[in-house]
Symmetry: C2
Subunit: 320 residues, 2 copies
């Protein structure tokens, strides 16, 4: 069985033809051009997908992971961030109109889609229950229990980025004091790094790329090259991550945590400090099998997971 | 339909004959005598329950809410706190042995039981999805989704008390820095109150009951009498509560929160400050219908909820 999975990002739209058993068959990528408005973005989605549909073999449907909230019926995209002028859009209808009335279309939040991709093709493959955390521009998340997304009352569950780990801490973009995103969101992380590097005047980051051009990737690279300042920054960030993850384990008793998204490429430089502190934030008696693992799929998780929306739906219908 | 519900506490064992439609029929209470060991406590449970079983009418079963972790099969009680020498006990078997082999016995965590009681007879009566927080010696919690307890991987979900709201904050009894229990647990709350009252040398609490004898109840009473120091303490505590609850709403998208347990008797003196800050800790877009309400059942929630274990199980079997 084959389906098309789309990852609707603020900068790029990535689409893939996905084979249920074998994963990616062919991918395609176009620029989102979000500032050109909704109709332009929808045309770009069509442009990304159409070449994949011309290939041989029946396509069971199209799944799309999108930023922002999705309604419980998984049709409506509600105020996607960084996409000016969208408001509330029936993304399912909009895509059916452009791709074909008879095509099944499923819409999901991007972090939820990434979690499904991880569960079928990635680091969560052997787990029925896990938390997915996506570390990128923002911090996203998803709860998977019995291989299904836990969606909450309105479909918005999993907003890990806005959980506070310091009631009087610095605010994130939404104004939440001490939200984990205010430490680990890309822009926040580089800001904290600049501050902390004052303690490390010999850091190579002053030269390459220079403090004004810091990114999580350059910090990670410097840390891999044993730069003490860069190592300290990632250690500091990993400890914050461990704190929020510990709280989640206390609440949900879900003990496998998969870390994806661009910032997760720091790997053990970030995850070891998180692992080092996480148990100290969890009730004794709930420590067994707590496990923080790195997603290995990279940017493909979103596309793969979006295709899983189609596979899962058809599996469900078969069982009925 | 009638069942017996038991609330196994560290100090008292409370038992009730509960009518499914009408609630409490008759209650009974005995001292736990936890320090006299497991066999004594089991005998005390028997002593509390037996008089209730002698009444007319068939009893559908016995439910018990107990402190500590319960296994996923809801039989085993695992290392209950404040009950020396228990270890891991098959509480279902132990009770069947004493109450009658043919009696259905169901075991549940006490906070989970209180949540079920609230959902059928208390403040959560009209809600399918809610978070229950019990504020007492410790801070407990439960997640109810679609009227069912969310139990997590091993049955331990809902350990709200150990969620940190300050990664470098003061430790709770288990050593978790900044855990909400380290602010709102009974002993911690009175400790913080003593510190904060230094700013209020005119507080009536210096006289009655005196700083050494502070309890949440006396602080609440003083606050009701407009004592500025007492009001400030409960405001401080309520703001901490609002922070942890905001994080839970972000994660679960469950928007009704019911606050029970002894400390919740402070009512709006504690809950209004929580309501005042909670939205500032929640992602914009998830603010609608967020609601922090006080449990009205008091100590009866646990017994009622324990009886619900029986009613729910029989409902489930009927549906099969």
């Amino acid at each position: 069985m084959q389906a098309i999975g789309i990852d609707l990002g603020g900068t790029y739209i990535k689409a893939a033809l996905v084979h249920k058993a074998f994963g990616l068959v062919k991918t395609n990528s176009v620029e989102t051009g979000a500032d050109l408005g909704k109709d332009h973005v929808l045309s770009q989605i069509e442009a990304a997908v159409k070449p994949l549909m011309r290939r041989r073999g029946r396509i069971a449907g199209v799944g799309i992971g999108a930023p922002g909230s999705i309604d419980l019926d998984r049709k409506m995209l509600i105020h996607p961030p960084n996409m000016p002028g969208w408001g509330v859009v029936d993304l399912r209808q909009a895509l059916k109109k452009r791709l074909g009335r008879r095509i099944n279309v499923f819409v999901e939040n991007d972090a939820n889609a990434a979690a499904l991709g991880s569960g079928r093709y990635g680091a969560a493959r052997n787990h029925d229950h896990y938390i997915m955390v996506t570390l990128g521009t923002g911090v996203g998340g998803a709860i998977v229990f019995n291989k299904r997304i836990f969606r909450g009352e309105t479909g918005a569950a999993g907003e890990i980025g806005h959980i506070s780990i310091d009631y009087s801490g610095p605010p994130d973009q939404a104004g939440v004091n001490g939200a984990i995103e205010a430490y680990l969101g890309q822009r926040f992380l580089t800001g904290h790094a600049r501050e902390q590097l004052e303690q490390y005047p010999d850091s190579m980051l002053y030269v390459a790329p220079g403090l004004e051009n810091l990114t999580p990737a350059t910090i990670t690279e410097a840390a891999m090259n044993k730069d003490p300042g860069a190592i300290a920054v990632l250690e500091w960030a990993g400890q914050k991550l461990g704190c929020v993850l510990g709280g989640i384990v206390n609440l949900l008793d879900i003990r496998t945590i998969v870390i994806g998204g661009g910032v997760s490429k720091a790997g053990d430089m970030l995850l070891k400090p998180a692992r080092d502190v996480i148990l100290s934030y969890i009730k004794p008696g709930m420590h067994e099998d707590v496990n923080v693992i790195q997603e290995t799929l990279g940017n493909e998780a979103g596309m793969l997971g979006a295709a899983c929306l189609v596979f899962d739906q058809l599996d469900d219908e078969k069982q009925k």
